[in-house]
Amino acid sequence: MTALFINGKSHEVDVESNTPLLWVLRDTIGLTGTKYGCGIAQCGACTVHIDGVAARSCQVPVGTVGGRAITTIEALAQNGKLHPVQQAWLDFDVPQCGYCQSGMMMAVVALLKEKPKPTDADIDAAITNICRCGTYQRIRAAIHAAANAQKERP
């Protein structure tokens, strides 16, 4: 049994300790907002936060994250209010198919924590997630808008 702390709730899961966190989230716990795309940390669709840091959950053995705070896309909005990144995604109507966007937003939230006002170069370096619909132009605009909105908050 592994004890996990996900989105503020405790879960006990009975899986092999080398099982990637991604599949525990999706198949064992039922949090399907985190997506499988490649299984080799290339596409970023599986990005979640572990203690506030972005991680590609397909490469994180569940046995290594017991007791750490895991956050998924389902818990990004708080008290019914979208996170500024989600709000910017809504304002710019970013998603097309939307499949990669959970991971994309989780990566961006982590970036903004580290660099509240990222430059285009910061975005290029940090956001390596794949979007096959090609929403990158909207994503860049939404990141800047979210950064501005966060800055304006008290």
Binding site: W23, K35, I73, Q86, P95, Q101, I130, T135, Y136
Partner: protein
């Protein structure tokens, strides 16, 4: 705003004769007088529109949503005629089984070829208009006043003389009982209030919070998970496997064959299924195609450049005589590679089979085809099966023509009756068992007269037919008519843009063992590249400006989009230091599109700085959605221009995942500007056409920058390093 693609089996309670109407084929537009109720008991006004007592408007959408925005665009068209309150609109997908049972009342489900809006705009608008007429009639009846004194606006009906008003939700029940009018006039485009506007997508809010259900997200009680491995060599078969090796592994429940070419492990989680599959000793009979490689395929296609043609697609005058009498003949040979689709959601479907019934949940671009495939795989009649469409995590054609993901899921489920099975491809399985962008080569040959006028053009395409691979029944006397997409003499779908007095465009079909499929843009991708790069070569050969040269021969609608893209990009004015421009145009999926690329080349590396796209799609139902499709199509096209090549060795595809098959990421995204210029004269598609001009515009800009003609893609740094 809410909307749903409900994963629970939604059924309509049908009163009257429509219930048992069976599976009539051929599309009719019956606005059935029978009262049909939605799940919550709310009666339909007509098949497209359900209005709840709280004034929520549910609009039924038969086409699939894979990011292109058709769900929103079609809902806008219905809502336009309905004159409802857009903020109260939600949408849902009827199942293809329901559609068939009701004489295909919702029309086509096929969401390929950029046809979602252009081919259903009329009947969905009528669906909205008829419902509006019925609602007004119901209000007039209640007030006992003439219909002519009642007018609708924003979901509210007002009796003008008295000022009384009532919302749609209050009269919906009465309206549903009325006989629908036989026909209704549609709102002229110039009067559109909801259609034609850059409204936000209906499906965005759920996509922000992880709530949208894609095929991979289906969860059913008691569901098990399957992982699949098919013979890595196309045409090879499954010889044997040693089930005992994995029997005791955690969670493993079944090991089953799929046809004669694949095996699946079924377990209580996908990770356990995949882990066991990797441990399963499998022996393949790789078959005769094991000797197929890039080199054998290239030779096979090269032979076709000079062979007798399989089909002639476009012919005028006497091209042989023109060549013989030319002052100058220009010739070039091009090549276009295999490519994978690489939707980020890997192939999957979930199936529940019992001897009495089969149900499938799948991310499909074509619900009806997927349903037929499910029924066939189940060995059950269509009416004992149904298919529940989910949102689609990237389609790009992979989930349109092919139905392998549905058939294989049913094949597994059939061996585990009564248990829902979600069969999911690994990325590696998805990459190595795609239906690939067809491979072709092309010889372009032009005759110029003494005044450098283009008097003859022979285009010979040698290569693979998608239809021969995926839908051989659609071949016509062994010929593939869609091989000539964007090269046809005329027609509404994809005409050749240039007037050349002596013209021959022909095709020598050569089908290697790698399966080909529809890949966003389809045959227009290579056809546009060949034509537009060669036109650039001809402009250079005649010493003319590439825009001016093209405009001498282009038909008016083709010329107009090219001029618009050029003007927006500032073509002909000085570009920033080190930046060079290139042009391309095409007619595809019934739309006229063009691009102007701005690139710089440094140390052999091509950097696409800016792309300008222009599209005349006839009618623009949502200009913002169109702009996004142009942006996204450029990314899809440029990803493949820069990186996309599937190589073949030992009869199999060598690339396996995003480490060996690179795609464009945000750091390479050019600025994209889009001109949407509908002329109102036709209905054209949007999702695909602009993809086909991205690559040739960039290649022509690369020539402007370096003087090097790249006639084979993807661009390799080594091609340009000395530039």
């Amino acid at each position: 705003m809410t909307y749903m693609a409900n994963l629970s089996r939604r059924s309509f309670v049908i009163a009257g004769a429509a219930a048992g109407a069976g599976l009539a084929l051929g599309f009719k537009l019956p606005f059935s007088p029978d009262l049909v109720r939605a799940d919550d008991g709310t009666p339909e006004i007509d098949a497209w529109v359900v209005i709840r007592p709280d004034d929520t408007v549910v609009i039924r959408i038969m086409r699939s949503e894979m990011g292109q925005g058709t769900l929103t665009g079609l809902a806008q068209l219905v809502a336009e005629e309905l004159e409802c309150d857009w903020s109260k609109v939600t949408a849902e997908f009827p199942t293809p089984g329901e559609n068939l049972a009701r004489n295909r009342v919702w029309g086509e489900s096929n969401t390929t070829g950029s046809r979602g809006i252009r081919e259903s705009n009329e009947y969905v608008r009528k669906g909205g208009a008829i419902a509006r007429v019925m609602l007004i009639q119901a209000a007039a009846n209640a007030w006992n006043v003439p219909v002519s004194e009642c007018s609708p606006a924003n979901g509210l009906i007002t009796h003008q003389p008295s000022g009384r008003s009532v919302t749609y939700g209050k009269v919906a029940d009465a309206a549903a009982k009325l006989t629908p009018p036989a026909d209704v006039p549609l709102t002229p485009t110039k009067d559109w209030k909801i259609a034609g506007k850059p409204l936000k997508r209906l499906d965005t809010p759920d996509k922000l919070v992880g709530k949208t259900k894609y095929g991979i997200d289906v969860r059913l009680p008691g569901m098990l998970y399957g992982a699949i491995a098919a013979c890595p060599v196309f045409g090879g078969t499954l010889k044997s496997y040693d089930e005992a090796t994995v029997r005791g592994m955690p969670g493993v429940q079944h090991v089953v064959r799929i046809g004669d070419f694949a095996v699946a492990v079924v377990a209580d989680s996908w990770w356990r299924a995949k882990t066991a599959l990797e441990a399963l000793p499998v022996v393949w009979d790789e078959g005769k195609n094991v000797t197929v490689s890039d080199a054998t395929i290239a030779d096979f296609l090269k032979e076709g450049l000079d062979a007798e043609p399989t089909a002639v697609g476009n012919q005028a005058g006497d091209v042989r005589a023109a060549m013989a009498g030319a002052a100058k003949v220009v010739e070039a040979v091009y090549a276009f590679p295999y490519r994978i689709h690489a939707a980020v959601e890997p192939m999957n479907a979930t199936a529940l089979y019992t001897p009495e019934r089969c149900e499938v949940w799948a991310p499909t671009q074509n619900g009806e085809d997927a349903l037929r495939a499910a029924a066939q795989a189940a060995g059950l009649p269509l009416e004992k099966c149904d298919l529940h469409k989910t949102f689609v995590g990237g389609g790009f054609g992979r989930r349109g023509g092919p139905t392998d993901f549905v058939r294989h899921a049913v094949a597994v489920a059939k061996q585990v009756p009564g248990v829902p099975i979600k069969l999911l491809w690994s990325r590696e399985e998805d990459t190595t068992h795609d239906t690939y962008h067809p491979i072709t080569q092309c010889r372009m040959r032009a005759a110029l007269d003494a005044n450098n006028k283009l008097i003859g053009l022979h285009m010979r395409i040698s290569g693979q037919s998608i239809l021969a691979s995926l839908a051989p029944a659609r071949l016509q006397n062994g010929k593939d008519p869609i091989a000539f997409q964007s090269l046809n003499p005329g027609g509404a779908e994809g005409a050749f843009g240039y007037e050349v007095p002596n013209l021959l465009i022909d095709h020598a079909m050569r089908n290697p063992s790698i399966p080909a499929g529809f890949w966003r843009g389809v045959n227009s991708n290579h056809n546009a590249l060949y034509v537009e790069c060669f036109m650039d070569e001809l402009a250079h050969a005649t010493g003319e400006n590439p825009l001016a040269f093209r405009l001498k021969y282009l038909k008016p609608k083709h010329a107009a989009v090219l001029q618009a893209a050029a003007a927006k990009a500032g073509y002909g004015t000085p570009a920033p230091q080190g930046v060079y421009r290139g042009l391309a145009q095409v007619m595809a999926n019934a739309s006229y599109v063009a691009a102007c690329a701005e690139v710089s080349v440094e140390n052999g590396r091509v950097m696409v700085r800016r792309m300008v796209g222009a599209t005349n799609c006839g009618h623009a139902v949502n200009p913002e959605l169109i702009t996004r499709q142009v942006e996204g199509s450029f990314v899809y096209g440029l990803s493949s221009l820069l990186y996309g090549e599937c190589t073949v060795r030992g009869g199999r595809i060598e690339q396996t995942n995003f480490d060996t098959w690179q795609v464009m990421r945000i750091d390479e995204m050019p600025k994209v500007d889009v001109v949407v210029m509908p002329d109102g004269e036709f209905w054209g598609g949007v999702g695909e056409p602009t993809i086909s001009v991205a690559a040739p515009a960039v290649l022509n800009a690369v020539f402007a920058a370096t003087g090097k003609r790249l006639r084979s893609i993807p661009i390799k740094e080594s091609d340009l390093r000395s530039a």
